[in-house]
């Protein structure tokens, strides 16, 4: 297995669009061509070689040194692996449809937005719009898995249609906003207005919430599927520990009935 590593020459002075650094794209180039590849940098462009020191060989793995100003890392990833040591900026894994994207540190806004497949792992916290929709789009995430060990910001899983998002810590406001389908597991407590406009899908969380008036309280339930889900989650690699150990008992709300919704909020015990 050949690994191509990018080490930052110094701190970034502007935001960089790292979307061209995809394994399958770089595998077609030689090292000199990769070093000459232009990246958008602020309002202009900069060559890869001016920002990064390159080592290794192009193949199916790319290793990056992270920076909070490195945007669009792994955007449109279809296959192969990208590993980032440190944080990334906004839109990491936007629209990825396959492959594995592992970020050690925190991620910025809209991580995994409009994701269609593959695995996105974030070791730190994630910003607003995790696994959500791109601005103006009718659907958000439609497949794949997003696993976040820290907490996440507002509007996680906005307009989500399929797939799994598991967040280890708390979630911000408007989790599962206008959710169409799919599963959102929150290891901590979600913020206010969780499930607003939800039409279908499942949000599982720990702790107390005060659901919107559009949600009907269905009381305490023994739900056999929860133990099946728990088995599934424990088989997956990298699922945050707080998202595991579901007992099968949960308090259930159905909604959002203002939107004809049949989605469910499950406060797991």
């Amino acid at each position: 297995m050949s690994v191509l590593s990018f080490r930052l020459k110094g701190p970034l002075t502007g935001r960089v669009d790292a979307s061209p650094l995809l394994p399958h794209r770089l595998a077609e180039l030689d090292m000199a061509e990769i070093a000459a590849l232009p990246l958008r940098h602020g309002r202009g462009h900069v060559a890869v070689g001016d920002l990064f020191e390159l080592s290794g060989r192009p193949g199916d793995v790319v290793e990056l040194e992270g920076d909070g100003r490195l945007d669009f890392v792994g955007a449109g990833l279809t296959a192969g692996t990208i590993r980032v040591a440190g944080p990334v900026g906004h839109r990491v894994g936007t629209g990825m449809s396959g492959g594995t994207l592992v970020v050690d540190g925190a991620a910025g806004l809209a991580a995994g937005a409009a994701m269609r497949g593959g695995l996105l792992f974030i070791g730190g916290n994630a910003g607003d719009g995790l696994g959500g929709a791109l601005p103006g789009e009718r659907t958000g995430m439609t497949g794949g898995r997003i696993l976040v060990h820290g907490r996440c910001g507002d509007r996680v899983g906005e307009r989500m249609r399929r797939g799994l998002i598991a967040v280890g810590g708390d979630a911000g406001a408007y989790a599962a906003l206008h959710m169409n389908a799919g599963s959102l597991v929150i290891g901590g407590t979600p913020g206010p207005a969780t499930g607003h406009g939800m039409r279908n899908g499942t949000v599982l969380f720990r702790g107390e919430v005060d659901p919107l008036p559009g949600f009907a309280d269905c009381g305490l339930n023994q739900l056999p599927f929860l133990s099946l889900l728990d088995n599934h989650l424990s088989e997956l690699e990298g699922v945050p520990p707080t998202c595991r150990g579901l007992t099968g008992r949960a308090r259930r709300w159905l909604g959002d009935r203002g939107f004809g919704g049949r989605g469910e909020l499950l406060a797991c015990l």
């Binding site: 958008r40 309002r43 202009g44 462009h45 791109l134 601005p135 103006g136 789009e137 009718r138």
Partner: protein
């Protein structure tokens, strides 16, 4: 300004509007002198010649003029908002010369100017400026570089006019109102969209024929049309009423279109995107081409000019003030989202994204109907090249359309590729006509300039604005018109081989007919009672356009009784 001449040496000048002084493509190549942004007469021997550019027999035409292209204003802006994915897919960054921009069929304003200039277009006219949106439209057009631009103010569904007509207003009162609107909104003409129908839609009407009374005001589209056409004629506005007929897109609407031509009874008028108004009801699908009948009607009516609104296959968005037809078409939206709104009881705005598919019978027949109109209307001075951008397709498809018109075998190849039923239902395959270069020059330059009253554009006589386009004479006319060898705007080289080399600002073209200012006494209370903006704030001052420092105002002279458009 320097006193030196620029010499374009030895071009084959194709200048139909200047044909009176003997220039024609077939004559030997001649020299063209530019000075201070204008075409100059041949200078005296001792004059200082600055730059000399050898054209080596390449073809020279005036800058092209797009008479009908939705490039600015509320409607276009909403179209951009409705399709964010288009702007994500088609983006370009700044490169020192250009600003960044995005979009293909709803390009951002800067991109619009760049693309037009690269294609040899030096003027484009926004045909649907609602008076209440006028300020926004001009602000947006101030961000369209290089080309000249102008707007037609949309009237005919505004409650003020309808109410006054219903109350029995005199023609002279309407004339004053129309002239006031032209001044206040800095427009160059007046467009009427589905006369009465947009307003009737708000009273739950779904279609309105020419002699059908408006459900609230009780007046007919015929009355609105003839009153407005007469107003423009009385005021001496060079561009006659720009008409989007009733019942757009409905099979069988050809009768309304022909009735409209008849109703005008010799008054000059421009029928726009005629393709969408030339449908019959024959055949198994109750949808057929009525292009031949419409073309014959246009051929017999020298007072009528038209633009075609040709469709091109692929994704686009339809953007129209005609909310009645947009509501009807909303079920066909692709992707499935649309938008429809009333704007200040002044007009409407409907947006329906649309994908024209060559295998779909209706779309393929629409394509054929447009081409039939081009080829069956005999006088190129009265039929102009448009796609009704972005309704029929983006303006960037003009070079492709020119090739379809100039190259019969190419046209028939395309015809063979589309839905096979169309060839059987259309006479397109049997039409032999091929446009000549002179005819293309007429329909894209000389004709639009004449019908807009632009006396110093659209030709290459001394004194004209030095908007000059030089083409390589390529056998592939699409390649030839897509990337002109040289494009000059105001005497300055702005594009070479289809690539921008410089940028700048064009003029805003307006018309200023005389009128009785007493009309403001009636308008003022109307604005106080019904509008969100007071009359004094509604008027757009010249300074608002000039203060940008981006091009000037160019005033089209009004016609006197002895002048005539045709």
């Amino acid at each position: 300004m320097s006193d030196a001449y620029t010499l374009l040496r030895g071009g084959r000048v194709c200048d139909p509007a200047g044909a009176a002084d003997g220039t024609s493509l077939h004559e030997p190549p001649r020299d063209l002198y530019l000075k201070n942004g204008r075409i100059a007469a041949t200078p005296p021997e001792d004059a200082r010649i600055g730059e000399v550019i050898d054209l080596d027999g390449r073809i020279v035409m005036a800058g092209a003029i797009d008479i009908h292209s939705h490039i600015g204003g509320g409607k276009v802006n909403l179209a951009r908002l409705l399709l964010p994915e288009e702007h994500r897919e088609h983006g370009s960054g700044p490169d020192g010369l250009r600003r960044s921009g995005s979009g293909l069929f709803t390009p951002s304003s800067f991109v619009t100017g760049y693309r037009y200039a690269e294609m040899g277009y030096t003027a484009a006219f926004e045909p649907a400026m609602l008076p209440s949106n006028a300020r926004h439209t001009h602000l947006e057009l101030a961000d369209v570089p290089i080309i000249d631009k102008g707007c037609y103010a949309v009237l005919g569904n505004d409650d003020f006019l309808l109410e006054r007509l219903a109350a029995g207003a005199t023609q002279s009162e309407v004339n004053d109102y129309v002239a006031w609107i032209l001044h206040a909104t800095q427009a160059v003409g007046v467009k009427v969209v589905n006369p009465g129908g947009i307003s009737a839609f708000k009273f739950n009407q779904r279609r309105l024929d020419l002699d059908e009374a408006h459900p609230h005001y009780g007046i007919t589209p015929r009355r609105i049309l003839t009153t407005l056409a007469t107003a423009l004629s009385d005021l001496g506005v060079p561009h006659p009423l720009h008409i989007h007929c009733n019942n757009l897109g409905i099979p069988g609407n050809e009768s309304v279109t022909r009735d409209t031509i008849a109703a005008l009874d010799g008054l000059p008028a421009h029928l726009t995107h005629l393709q969408f108004h030339s449908y019959g009801t024959e055949g198994d699908r109750r949808f057929s081409s009525a292009a031949a009948e419409i073309a014959e009607s246009v051929n017999r009516s020298p007072n009528i000019s038209v633009d075609v609104g040709q469709i091109v296959f692929g994704q686009t968005i339809t953007a129209s003030a005609d909310i009645m037809s947009q509501f009807r078409n909303s079920g066909l939206a692709s992707p499935r989202k649309w938008l429809c709104t009333d704007i200040e009881c002044d007009g409407g705005c409907g947006l329906v994204p649309f994908r024209y598919r060559d295998k779909a019978f209706v779309n393929a027949l629409q394509w054929a109907i447009g081409l039939e109109l081009f080829l069956l209307i005999e006088d190129p001075w009265r039929v102009y090249l448009t796609t009704d951008h972005p309704n029929g397709g983006p303006f960037t498809s003009y070079p492709h359309l020119i090739r379809l018109l100039m190259d019969r075998s190419f046209r028939n190849e395309q015809l063979a590729r589309i839905n096979p039923d169309v060839a059987a239902h259309s006479r397109l395959g049997a039409i032999d006509r091929e446009y000549t270069l002179e005819e293309i020059a007429i329909m894209t330059r000389a004709g639009p300039a004449r019908v807009l009253g632009l006396r110093d554009r659209g030709h290459l006589r001394p004194g004209a604005v030095a908007d000059v386009v030089v083409y390589d004479d390529l056998p592939d006319r699409e390649a030839m018109f897509a990337a002109p060898a040289l494009v000059f705007k105001n005497g300055r080289l702005v594009a070479r081989n289809g690539q921008l080399t410089a940028t700048g600002w064009g003029d805003t073209i307006v018309v200023r007919p005389e009128f009785d200012a007493a009309i403001e006494r009636r308008l003022k209370p109307w604005f106080e009672d019904h509008q969100t903006v007071r009359l004094g704030n509604f008027r757009i001052a010249d300074g608002e356009i000039l203060d940008h420092g981006r091009g000037g105002l160019s005033i089209v002279p009004t016609l006197t009784a002895s002048d005539s458009c045709f």
